[in-house]
């Protein structure tokens, strides 16, 4: 049993972390911070947790956190985690950071994708990118794990088997993502009001989305060569869920059975990856409808022999495998727990 803290516990990701942690068998919640809601009971901000937790939010006090926690989740907006993670790291406490502040390995990529110079670039090499399906052994030894972006992890997992097996032309990788409103976080803007958000299919960043940098970084690790991707995300009329439709082109003809084998070989031992390509039933290809509330990333593919194209598909719950679920999976590995501890939820259907 370890004691954990959550810095920035009042947002949507913070709430999802608490939903998982209050019933996790190996964890005791210790300190939950919220600058805006210090002193308030958690259930007033996260109503669904009423009856599960009687703690109140605390202000951000580094000494208290370090003294009372073995591991800390940092769940604050991009840019705000920099100093918190740096200070925590120097104390020796284990850290799972859910912001983007330590995801990229190359400091220059922060200028390119985020528009600011990274002030603690020496820490970037200490941080492990938190996709267990790629970095499991490094995560087990890590003091600092940086959880992936929600759309990034979802598309990376769809494309990984194709790159590992060198099946595709790496100069044309097109990532199309659709994401629900909870991906925009708990802070409002004019675009998040119901009247402006309901019913949208909003191409909110057709090019140069910041998750592109992480996808390129990790697919380069997987393939052993420098990868570039073209990414276009859309905000759609869901609360939870991501679908990524990844268009790639075969470098030589492959049979359907070869693709099946490639996907099976990549993921046969993975507890949170399900292969979905079924000719029958309700669930024929990955669809976020069937992963809500779970840590699954469902992966599948289709072939277009006419253009030599593979459509690699993946679906996840952006708050789970896309954020808090990955964070718990990483914590389990860092602490030597069963990797699936506190995460074996069947998806909520229908919802």
């Amino acid at each position: 049993m370890i004691k954990v803290g959550v810095v920035g516990a009042s947002g949507y990701v913070g709430g999802e972390l608490l939903r998982l942690l209050v019933v996790h068998p190996d964890v005791e919640l210790s300190v939950l911070t919220s600058r805006q809601n210090a002193g308030e009971y958690v259930h007033r901000i996260h109503p669904s947790l009423k009856g599960f937790i009687d703690l109140t939010f605390s202000p951000m006090e580094m000494d208290k956190i370090v003294n009372q926690c073995d591991l800390v989740f940092v769940s604050v907006p991009h840019g705000n985690a920099l100093n918190i993670v740096k200070d925590l790291y120097s104390t020796g406490v284990k850290i799972v950071d859910l912001s983007a502040d330590f995801r990229l390995k190359n400091a220059e990529d922060y200028v390119k994708w985020y528009g600011w110079e990274h002030p603690f670039s020496d820490l970037l090499s200490k941080s492990v990118y938190g996709i267990p399906e790629i970095h499991r052994n490094e995560i087990k030894e890590a003091k600092l794990v940086s959880c992936p972006g929600c759309m990034a992890v979802t598309s990376i997992l769809a494309l990984k088997p194709l790159l590992e097996n060198k099946f595709i032309d790496t100069s044309h990788i097109i990532v199309d993502s659709k994401i629900g409103s909870s991906g925009a976080g708990a802070n409002d803007s004019t675009g998040t009001h119901h009247a402006m958000r309901y019913g949208v299919i909003r191409p909110y960043k057709p090019s140069k989305h910041r998750h592109t940098g992480e996808i390129e970084q990790e697919l380069s690790v997987v393939s052993g060569e420098k990868i570039k991707v073209s990414m276009s995300p859309h905000a759609v009329n869901l609360v939870r869920g991501i679908l990524t439709t990844n268009h790639v082109f075969l470098n030589s003809p492959r049979s359907e059975i070869e693709l099946w084998k490639a996907y099976r070989n990549s993921y046969k031992e993975e507890p949170f990856i399900r292969l979905i390509r079924d000719k029958k039933g309700l669930y024929k290809f990955p669809d976020p409808k069937f992963v809500v509330g779970s840590n699954f990333c469902d992966v599948g593919f289709d072939m277009d022999e006419n253009t030599n194209r593979i459509v690699a598909l993946s679906a996840s719950d952006n708050l789970m495998k896309g954020a808090a679920g990955s964070a718990i999976q990483n914590m389990n590995l860092m602490c030597g727990f069963n990797e699936t501890s506190g995460l074996r939820y069947t998806p909520l259907t229908p919802v």
Partner: protein
């Protein structure tokens, strides 16, 4: 008895008491196979016809 799915390579389990004409469904990809002949040790199957779904007309 075990066979390999011709479409996806998954392992198909053929029940001992299955009969010619019976449909065996792949648990992974959903392809239907019809048993066309069967002895104590062997089974021959062919892909069964099915009607697909099409939207957007």
């Amino acid at each position: 008895m075990k066979k390999e799915c011709k479409d996806c390579g998954a392992e198909l389990t053929i029940p001992q008491d299955s009969m010619v004409g019976e449909i065996i469904t792949c648990p992974d990809c959903g392809t239907d196979f019809e048993i066309v002949s069967k002895t104590e040790d062997t089974v021959e199957m062919k892909e069964a016809e099915s009607v697909g779904e099409d939207w957007g007309q």
